[in-house]
């Protein structure tokens, strides 16, 4: 009788430790790490945890064993052994000849394996672009050679130029760590961080070999993505760089964007011209002879041809006029059919096309017609990127700019200093935060708040959704009021145009309103409400915001009144479950244990949130009371001075 085989524990049957994996694949630790990062295979955490070791699944390692890059790693090792031997023997000529035979590999198959479609690659572009923008700013060192940083700079510039051309930038936020950008490409949102333009010194705690392997993968991915993006706009890839501008430090402007077919046509024309020049001399003589003979016989025919041409011109003019009208009618009928079409798919496509057109109009024309000038102390790359992506023009202090400081066309000058010696009246002096805030709100904010001598208002993050958090800060309320004011002013302008057409309608509406007011006044008389009471009710309904906009004098409010005002403006959540309700108590009694645990957990979370919101409101009340007291003191001082 054979012995019963003991079953292996689950960990041994499904997982391998790192040492076991290395022995199986016959690789060193550095090579194994590199392979795992390139292929996207990472350690797993088994449910029944053994000793504190790193585990990999067996299936992943079997998948790794079939990778052709492993052969290249082994070729590298043998190659370097040969070089070491040659160095020991001092055969330097041999080394030079061997350098040309260095084994190379590409990551095309890995990229195709991990991202079979273009949209899969777009989804994972966040990390890719952050790392590449990080390395683009690094100075060259022993760990990071200059070629890698230059390659990163080029790839990053190509991506930014695509965004500028398609006006696909949506949000910007400046934080302590860096500047956050959000972009929309093919309905996919991509966010990344760029570091501030200070010299970044890499820290010593971090293993740079790991970062470089990630970089290698991401460079390959970005290259393919850029090609696809440029191809979609009919631009040539890879583009060329202007070396003079690069040396001056102008990264964005150094790119030369060309259409795909431009260069091919140029070469064809050059070849054709060469051939023509060779044959012209021979044919000229023959043509001259033929022409002389023809002219003698074609006098009568010329007269008849002239008559026919005059008739044809008249007919063409008539047809053009008719066709214009037809084209317009055809377009109108086409779009009407699209709207009225019963198929939802065609209707959706029409709406999507409309949305895209409207987005381009909105996002591409914010800074249209505006010319910006950047001072030396201002970070140039992010501001240039933001302004140009919304339709503006940029100049800066230094070489390579299209215009200088004394140009009269400049409308805005961005300054980061407190004091300015020389000023031009025709332009507005602003801080760089103005551009970022106006881009987030999609309106041109008032310039007085961002003057160089003044502390600018708070810079809020556009990624935070206040209605979900439950607390709206003060600055957000001001921005909402500004937006509504601008939109109402636009509506008024549009109404003025249609006023003449709708005069009759307005007259009828006025009559109806008068009748309603009369009926309401009768009701109030029956109830006993006086006219003065009505006026007080109206004043209380007006918002705190209107008081600020209309009048400069702020009304001094007590603590409770402030709290109530702030709470009324916060978003109100309609909670389905109120503990005091009978329905909730009945539902609780019927719940299972799991459901009860989940319900209690949700209530705990909501209570925590509410506590945090209350805490924020109390802090805001305290700040505003301090400000009120300061203003009181200032007023009293001014009054005493006047006396």
């Amino acid at each position: 009788m054979g012995r019963r085989k003991q079953k292996k524990p689950v960990i041994e049957s499904k997982y391998l430790t790192r040492g076991q994996a290395l022995r199986k694949l016959q690789l060193s630790l550095t090579e194994f790490r590199r392979l795992c990062i390139l292929k996207g295979i990472f350690p797993r955490q088994p449910k029944k945890k053994g000793s504190g070791k790193v585990y990999y699944s067996i299936k992943d390692i079997k998948f790794l064993s079939h990778e052709p890059i492993i052969k290249k790693f082994r070729e590298f090792n043998s190659f370097y052994k040969k070089i070491k031997k040659a160095i020991g023997k001092k055969e330097f000529q041999k080394i030079k000849s061997m350098e040309s035979n260095l084994p190379t590999y590409t990551l095309h198959h890995i990229v195709k394996e991990r991202y079979p479609t273009f949209i899969d690659a777009l989804r994972d572009l966040d990390d890719c672009i952050t790392l590449i923008s990080l390395f683009a700013i690094l100075p060259s060192s022993s760990m990071v050679p200059a070629n890698r940083t230059q390659n990163c700079q080029k790839l990053y510039c190509e991506f930014l130029n695509y965004i500028i051309k398609t006006h696909s930038l949506r949000k910007v936020f400046v934080s302590i760590k860096g500047i956050y950008f959000q972009v929309e490409i093919k309905s996919q949102l991509i966010t990344w961080i760029t570091p501030h333009q200070f010299t970044q010194h890499p820290p010593k705690n971090i293993d740079f070999r790991v970062m470089l392997t990630f970089l290698e993968l991401y460079e390959a991915i970005l290259k393919f993505v850029n090609h696809e993006l440029f191809y979609s706009i009919n631009l040539r890839y890879p583009p060329e760089f202007d070396q003079e501008k690069l040396s001056n430090g102008d990264l964005l402007g150094a790119l030369i964007l060309l259409n795909e077919n431009e260069n091919e046509n140029e070469n064809e024309n050059q070849n054709e011209n060469q051939i023509e020049n060779e044959n012209e001399n021979e044919n000229q003589i023959e043509n001259q002879k033929l022409m002389r003979e023809r002219i003698k016989t074609l006098e009568q025919k010329l007269i008849s041809v002239e008559k026919n041409e005059a008739i044809n011109v008249q007919n063409e003019e008539k047809n053009q006029k008719e066709n214009q009208g037809l084209d317009q009618e055809v377009e109108q009928n086409f779009f009407q059919k699209m709207e009225e079409d019963e198929d939802e798919s065609t209707r959706k496509q029409y709406k999507q096309a409309q949305k895209q057109r409207s987005r381009k109009v909105i996002y591409g024309n914010l800074f249209e017609g505006k010319i910006f000038y950047l001072n030396r102390e201002v970070p140039r790359l992010p501001l240039e990127f933001v302004i140009r992506s919304f339709g503006g023009k940029v100049g800066w202090q230094g070489e390579g700019s299209e215009f200088g400081e004394n140009d009269e066309k400049i409308t805005h000058q961005i300054v980061d200093r407190k004091r300015i010696d020389r000023r031009f009246i025709s332009r507005a002096y602003i801080q760089p935060q103005w551009a970022f805030d106006s881009v987030n709100e999609l309106i041109l904010l008032p310039v007085e708040d961002y003057a160089p001598e003044v502390k600018p208002p708070h810079h809020l993050s556009p990624f935070v959704k206040d209605h979900i958090v439950g607390y709206i800060p003060k600055r957000r309320e001001e921005l909402i009021s500004l937006k509504s004011f601008r939109n109402s002013s636009k509506k008024k302008k549009s109404n003025l145009k249609n006023q003449n057409q709708n005069q009759n309608q307005n007259q009828n509406q006025n009559q109806e309103e008068l009748e309603k007011n009369y009926a309401q006044e009768l009701e109030n008389e029956f109830k006993g409400i006086t006219y003065s009471q009505l006026e007080e009710q109206k004043k209380n309904k007006t918002n705190f915001q209107e008081v600020e906009i209309e009048g400069n004098e702020k009304s001094i409010l007590s603590k409770t009144q402030l709290e109530n005002q702030i709470r009324n403006k916060q978003p109100k959540k309609t909670s389905v479950f109120d503990q005091n309700d009978e329905k909730t108590q009945l539902a609780k009694a019927v719940m299972t244990r799991k459901q009860r645990i989940a319900f209690n957990k949700a209530q705990r979370i909501s209570s925590k949130k509410q506590n945090s919101i209350d805490r924020l409101i109390n802090k805001r009340v305290a700040f505003e009371i301090e400000n009120q007291d300061e203003e009181d003191i200032k007023k009293r001082k001014t009054k005493s001075k006047q006396k």
């Binding site: 994972d124 860096g178 993050s461």
Partner: protein, 370 residues
């Protein structure tokens, strides 16, 4: 006569003993001719002298000489192939285009060696253009990865879920308090989060220190008396601690510890007279005392060293899981809203490394100071 005999060539004596030598050295021509004649006679039923010339001889008008020696030997592979015509020869090269590229490589090398001042010949110029176009097409073909993605079948479900998208995002959206010009409410919220984080850390440290202090209260490093096993105060604190696999086990006193050999000895030993026992003990007292002192001193040293190591090291090592660190913020004095006055709080390389550990792309091996 003798001279004539001498002038004659000496004939070698040929042996005919074996079959091989007999076949080699005998002349069989007479016999063969006789046999041929006989075979002809039997075929023609006449004697050879009576036959006509046409019957005996045939004249070949062609000039082919059918001598085996002059005929060239056929090659071995031709034999094989002729015998089996289904076997086709293998071509020397797989693609015919390789030959063309090899030729162009040579011309390209020659062209590269030429100086730019020299004018290229038309043929060389055309070759250059053709090669440049091919390289461009190759690059375009390589970069066009997702060209036919629309026509492909929808992606099959990866059974192994190897490339499943991680739910944790690579970049966490920023908080309002992390901006260069934050509002005071959000900035104070971040301050509170940092304080809670620091309080947690201190509590963990105190937990370890308290556990260590329990050691110290019983086995105070400064007081040597606690390490004496024979002291009276030690009788109450009989328990010792042993650390293994990050767990702490209790050990009884070493003096009371009875190994199995000791137990056997006790059992096997016969009881002696009381007088003999006392006499032995009196004689061996000094030696026993010395031995006990030496053992105690060694034990003291070992314990001191062990507890000093444990004090520096955290007893309860945290598990190798990722611990989230809150985001940085500016102090009240540092808030200005300008890029000039900005002070960086955290390095982005560290941030990236943390994100990889958060998504379990890299294992958490050592506790790094962030």
């Amino acid at each position: 006569m003798k001279k004539s005999n001498k002038n004659q060539k000496r004939k070698k004596k040929l042996s005919k003993k074996s079959k091989k030598n007999w076949v080699k050295n005998t002349d069989i021509k007479d016999v063969e001719s006789f046999l041929e004649r006989k075979s002809l006679e039997t075929i023609e039923n006449q004697q050879v002298s009576q036959l006509k010339n046409n019957q005996l001889f045939v004249i070949d008008p062609t000039n082919q000489s059918i001598s085996t020696e002059s005929q060239l030997k056929p090659l071995y592979y031709e034999k094989i192939l002729n015998s089996n015509p289904n076997i086709k020869p293998i071509s020397s090269r797989k693609n015919k285009n390789q030959k063309i590229s090899s030729i162009n490589d040579k011309t390209l090398k020659q062209i590269s060696k030429l100086k730019p001042e020299k004018q290229l010949v038309e043929s060389q110029r055309k070759l250059l253009e053709v090669e440049q176009k091919k390289e461009k097409k190759k690059d375009d073909q390589v970069l066009k990865m997702w060209e036919n993605s629309k026509n492909q079948n929808p992606r099959r479900k990866n059974k192994l879920n190897r490339y499943k998208r991680k739910k944790i995002p690579s970049i966490i959206l920023p908080h309002n308090g992390t901006s260069i010009n934050p509002d005071p409410e959000s900035r104070s919220e971040l301050e509170k989060i940092w304080k809670d984080y620091q309080v947690k850390k201190e509590k963990e440290k105190q937990m370890n220190l308290n556990f260590g202090s329990n050691f110290n209260s019983k086995f105070d490093l400064n007081s040597d008396s606690k390490f004496d096993l024979n002291s009276d105060s030690k009788k109450d604190s009989k328990t010792l601690f042993h650390i293994k696999n990050n767990f702490i086990w209790e050990i009884t006193d070493i003096s009371e510890q009875n190994t199995p050999n000791q137990l056997q000895k006790k059992i096997t030993e016969k009881p002696k007279n009381q007088k003999d026992i006392l006499n032995q003990e009196i004689d061996n007292l000094d030696q026993i005392k010395k031995e006990i002192q030496q053992e105690n001193e060694e034990i003291k040293k070992r314990r001191k060293a062990r507890y000093q190591r444990l004090k520096n090291r955290e007893l309860y090592e945290p598990p190798k899981y990722f611990t989230e660190i809150p985001e940085p913020f500016l102090n009240e004095n540092e808030v200005s809203g300008r890029f000039i006055d900005l002070e960086l709080k955290r390095n982005l390389f560290q941030d990236r490394f943390l994100s990889y550990q958060r998504r379990s792309l890299l294992p958490v091996t050592k506790k790094r100071e962030n």
